[in-house]
Amino acid sequence: MLFLRRTLPLIIAFVVGMIGILVFYIPHSGAQSLEQELATWDRIVAAFALVLGIYSLMRLHWSRVRRQQAAWGYSFLVFVGFVITTLFAIYNDGIGPFEPQVLNSGPFDWMYKYVQVPADATMFSILAFFIASAAYRTFRARTPEAAILLISAIIVMIGRVPIGASIYQGLPEIAQWMMDVPNLAAKRGILLGVSLGIVATSLRIIFGVERSYLGGGEE
């Protein structure tokens, strides 16, 4: 049982990981078909992973409703939204869930257009207000570094909108130069470092050093 629970997953991760690396260097059609097949499998498993994510979200809210935890009414609302939309999706404008999806008409599309779109689009626009408040109350040049940051932000903010050129012709060019040169340099440095980090993490996974993704302790 220990073999199935611990060793087998590590062997699978090692084998598919090594295949994933090696097929990159082998143009032979055998290797390429293997890569195609594994990618196809990965896509299908990824679909189940999404289902898992949604299932666990719903389970979390369901347990709050069942135990009548504080503010469980809101968790119930999540359910209401979920169930109504799912029923509309199954109805699929009258042709059922085994035919291609109907878009741009029907109640499912209505839910998307008039509930999901405005809610999602509004959510992050709220931040515009908080940014303004933070700009006044907390974006401080506490250190020389923070001062550089704020000055660079101000130049970009003016230089990137049409009014910048009206204030001073050179502003858009200065902003563009900042993006093209110092910004690029720092972002490339970060990118190189992060890439090495990705290689390191991937290696740890393939060689079974990193097991946290398996979750649930080490039994």
């Binding site: 890569e35 990618a39 515009a128 049409p162």
Partner: protein
């Protein structure tokens, strides 16, 4: 006055922002929009594709949360393509993009009489990210056997001759997440060397400059300002150009707040920088 400035309620600041957006939206002031090279590059590439009657792929990788920024780009690029008879195949790495992409195709195709199946099609969402791009690279029809309307991609006129990513004359990613640098460049562009353009939210834009300089990306539209530039290039005013007045004005308000806040910080010291 000093006390008032130090203890101002943030809801008063919120009102400033709201008015800063609403008033310019009602006004008729219009500012000229300067064009940057990065946006022009996308426009020029689509003109080139049009000259050889080619096909492009647009990956709609954003959701309603970034709709105000990215949807104008989608509309502007589609209008440009349909006006110039460039064939467009759409797809998505994000599930929430499906409704928005379909809407953009509907609007733009009606305006220019583009025909479904001949001039455009939308394949819908598939999960898998990098694995999906690997599949599309060598066997496009296998990755997308049917489009969203249920037509077989092996039979549809626009897709039947597309065997892999190398057959596209241009790939444009409209993104609000990591799909360009996490998926399209390492899994697609790296191997097939297709021309790759990006339209993205302003949040992402600064991170893309290393790819622009290295040529892995040939052009970029960043945020609403980028979308406004594209609308200017195709001479069709849309929501992005309309928003530029408010955008300019409210930027000035924010900058004024930053300067005022810092002046007070240096005058009155750390703890009193404007408490609630």
């Amino acid at each position: 006055m000093k006390e008032f400035l130090l203890t101002i309620d943030r809801r008063i600041i919120f009102i400033f922002v709201a008015l800063g957006v609403i008033i310019p939206s009602l006004a008729t002031v219009r500012l000229p929009i300067p064009i940057t090279e990065d946006v022009k590059a996308i426009y020029d590439t689509i003109e080139e594709v049009s000259a050889k009657n080619g096909t492009i792929l647009i990956s709609f990788d954003y959701g309603p949360g970034s709709m105000p920024e990215v949807q104008p780009m989608a509309l502007a690029v589609l209008r440009h393509c349909f006006r110039k008879n460039v064939k467009v195949i759409g797809m998505s790495h994000w599930p929430t993009a499906v409704g928005l992409a379909q809407e953009a195709f509907d609007i733009a195709s009606k305006e220019f009489g583009a025909q479904y199946g001949e001039d455009y099609t939308y394949l819908g969402y598939k999960p898998g990210g990098g694995s999906l791009v690997i599949n599309m690279g060598r066997n496009f029809h296998d990755a997308f056997q049917k489009d969203l309307q249920g037509s077989n991609t092996t039979e549809l006129p626009i897709t039947k001759n597309i065997n892999g990513l190398a057959n596209f004359d241009y790939v444009i990613c409209l993104a609000a997440g990591n799909t360009p640098d996490g998926i399209w460049i390492p899994f697609g562009q790296e191997r097939y060397k297709f021309k790759f353009g990006l339209g993205c939210t302003a949040v992402m834009a600064p991170d893309q400059y290393p790819y622009l300089q290295s040529g892995q990306m040939n052009g970029m539209m960043g945020g609403l300002a980028g979308a406004a530039e594209y609308e200017t290039l195709i001479e069709t005013s849309g929501k992005a150009i309309a928003g530029m007045g408010a955008q300019s004005f409210v930027h000035l308000i924010i900058i004024a707040f930053i300067i005022l806040g810092n002046v007070m910080y240096f005058l009155y010291g750390r703890q009193k920088g404007g408490a609630q």
